[in-house]
C-alpha cells in the first residue's frame, strides 16, 4: 500500500515504464510524464470528454482513470492514432467541413468518432448525436461535426 507505484504499459504501440503517484490520473500521466499533450483536460470530472483516450480497445475518460490502473494496458492517444493513419479520413473530413474552431475538443471528438465507426455501419444523424453526447464542443454547435462523421460513414460503408 503505497502512494506511488511502478507501472508498465503500451502507449501508442511503444512499451513505457514509469513510477507514478497513485493520485495521478491517466491524462496527466500522458501529458506531463510522457509529453503527449494531444489529450486535453477540460472539466476534469468526466463531463466534457476532452480527455477521451482508447484503453484496451475502448474509449474511456482519461481523467477518470488512474495511471496506476493502466498498468499492463494498451493505450492509444490522438498522437498514435494520427501516425497509424486510422483517423486520416476523419481528420480530413473535420477540416473539410469546418468541424473544429479552437480545436480543444477535437482529439476527444475524433477518438469518439473512431469508436463509432467500429460498428461498421452508417448511423442516423440522431444516433451520431447520441453517441457524441458525452463530448462537449463550445465552438461549432456540433452540426459540422455530425456532418463530418456522417460523410466518413457514407464513404467507408457504401452499400
Amino acid at each position: 500500500m503505497e502512494e506511488a507505484a511502478d507501472i508498465a504499459l503500451i502507449v501508442n504501440g511503444e512499451a513505457v515504464s514509469r513510477r507514478v503517484e497513485a493520485r495521478r490520473h491517466l491524462v496527466d500521466f500522458l501529458r506531463l510524464d510522457l509529453g503527449l499533450t494531444g489529450s486535453r483536460l477540460g472539466c476534469e470530472h468526466g463531463v466534457c470528454g476532452a480527455c477521451t483516450v482508447r484503453v484496451d480497445g475502448a474509449i474511456v475518460r482519461g481523467c477518470l482513470m488512474l495511471a496506476v490502473q493502466a498498468d499492463g494496458a494498451d493505450v492509444w492517444t490522438i498522437e498514435g492514432l494520427s501516425d497509424t493513419g486510422e483517423l486520416a479520413d476523419l481528420q480530413d473530413a473535420f477540416v473539410a467541413r469546418n468541424a473544429l474552431q479552437c480545436g480543444y475538443c477535437t482529439p476527444g471528438m475524433l477518438l469518439t468518432a473512431a469508436e463509432m465507426l467500429k460498428a461498421g455501419r452508417r448511423m442516423t444523424r440522431q444516433e451520431i448525436r447520441e453517441f457524441l453526447s458525452g463530448n462537449f464542443c463550445r465552438c461549432t454547435g456540433y452540426h459540422a461535426i455530425v456532418d463530418a462523421i456522417e460523410a466518413v460513414m457514407q464513404e467507408r460503408f457504401r452499400d
Binding site: 493520485r23 490502473q69 453526447s133
Partner: protein, 286 residues
C-alpha cells in the same frame, strides 16, 4: 483540480478485499469503474486514505442465468450489460434503461455494482432494481448476506452497506410470463442524470394491470417504490381515468427537491407524464 494524496492497493482476491476493508473501514474506498469516485477525488469532495482497486477480481465479474435469476457481477461494466443477450432477453427493463446510463466512454468503465453501491438518487439502475424487486449480495469478513433492493437504499448516497462490506453481485428475477416492463426518463442531455424517470413492471393481461411496481427516481433522495400510484392501477383495465388516478396518487406521494435544473413542481409533473406514457407502452405491447 487534482486528487489529494492517497494510498492504492490492487488485491487479487475477494478475501484480501474483505481483510483490507475490515482493517481500514471508513478510511478506505472501493475503486471499481471510478466514474463517480474519481470526480469526487478530483474535486476533493472526498479524501480517502486508501483506494482498494477491485478491477482484477474475477469473482466479481460476469453476467449469468441461475434458477430464474440473472446474476450481474458487481464489476460488470455498463457496456457489457448493454450488450448482454441475457439482459436483453430476461431483463428488458434494464436493457431499456442502459442506453440512458451515461455516455459511451463512461459506460466502457462504469460498473453495475458501482452504480448500486454509490446510490445516486438520479441514477437509473437503483430504480430498476427496486422496480424489479432485485436483491444484492453483500460480503465482509463476517460473512455474506442478501439484502432486497427495496430496503437497501437508505437516503442520499446512503445504503445498507456497512463500512467493512462489499457489494458482490445483484440478483434479479427474470421477466415472468405475462409480465411487461417499461422505462422512461427525461434528461437535459442524452446520457446525463435524469430530472425525472420511471420504471414500471406489471402483469398485463387484456389491458388489465396487476402486481404493479412503479418506481420513480430523480429529485428525491433515493429511488421510490410508488406504492399509492401502483395501487391506483392494480387490478384495473388501463384507461384515461386510471391514468389520471395514477398521476394524482403520484403527485401526492412524490416529494422531490427543486434545483437549478428543475423545480419540484416540474419534477412531479415530469414523473406523472412519464408514468402515464410508460404504462401506455406496456399496454400497447400486450
Amino acid at each position: 483540480m487534482k486528487a489529494p494524496r492517497f494510498s492504492y492497493v490492487r488485491p487479487e482476491s475477494l478475501d484480501s478485499v474483505q481483510e483490507l476493508l475490515a482493517e481500514h473501514e471508513d478510511e478506505a474506498r472501493i475503486l471499481a469503474g471510478g466514474q463517480s469516485l474519481m470526480p469526487t477525488l478530483n474535486m476533493r469532495l472526498s479524501e480517502p486514505g486508501l483506494l482498494i482497486d477491485i478491477n482484477r477480481i474475477d469473482a466479481l465479474k460476469g453476467i449469468s442465468l441461475e434458477d430464474g435469476t440473472v446474476r450481474i457481477g458487481a464489476l460488470a461494466r455498463h457496456a457489457e450489460v448493454l450488450a448482454s443477450p441475457l439482459v436483453a432477453g430476461y431483463l428488458p427493463l434494464i436493457a431499456d434503461a442502459m442506453p440512458h446510463v451515461a455516455h459511451v466512454a463512461v459506460r466502457n468503465r462504469g460498473t453495475f455494482g458501482g452504480s448500486i453501491a454509490l446510490a445516486d438518487p438520479a441514477a437509473e439502475l437503483p430504480a430498476c432494481a427496486v422496480a424489479l424487486d432485485a436483491s444484492f449480495v453483500l460480503a465482509s469478513r463476517r460473512g455474506r448476506r442478501t439484502v432486497p433492493a427495496r430496503s437497501f437504499f437508505h437516503g442520499l448516497y446512503e445504503t445498507e452497506l456497512a463500512e467493512d462490506e462489499l457489494l458482490v453481485e445483484a440478483r434479479i428475477p427474470v421477466l415472468a410470463p405475462g409480465y411487461r416492463s417499461s422505462f422512461l426518463e427525461f434528461a437535459r442531455r442524452h446520457g446525463d442524470f435524469a430530472l425525472a424517470g420511471v420504471c414500471c413492471h406489471a402483469r398485463v393481461e387484456g389491458g388489465v394491470l396487476s402486481d404493479v411496481s412503479l418506481a420513480c427516481f430523480g429529485g428525491e433522495d433515493r429511488p421510490r417504490l410508488a406504492a399509492a400510484a401502483s395501487a391506483a392501477a392494480e387490478g384495473r383495465a388501463w384507461s384515461e381515468e386510471v391514468k389520471d388516478a395514477v398521476k394524482t396518487a403520484l403527485g401526492r406521494e412524490l416529494d422531490p427537491a427543486g434545483s437549478f435544473h428543475a423545480s419540484a413542481e416540474t419534477r412531479v409533473h415530469l414523473a406523472q407524464v412519464l408514468a402515464g406514457r410508460a404504462v401506455d407502452r406496456m399496454v400497447a405491447a400486450d
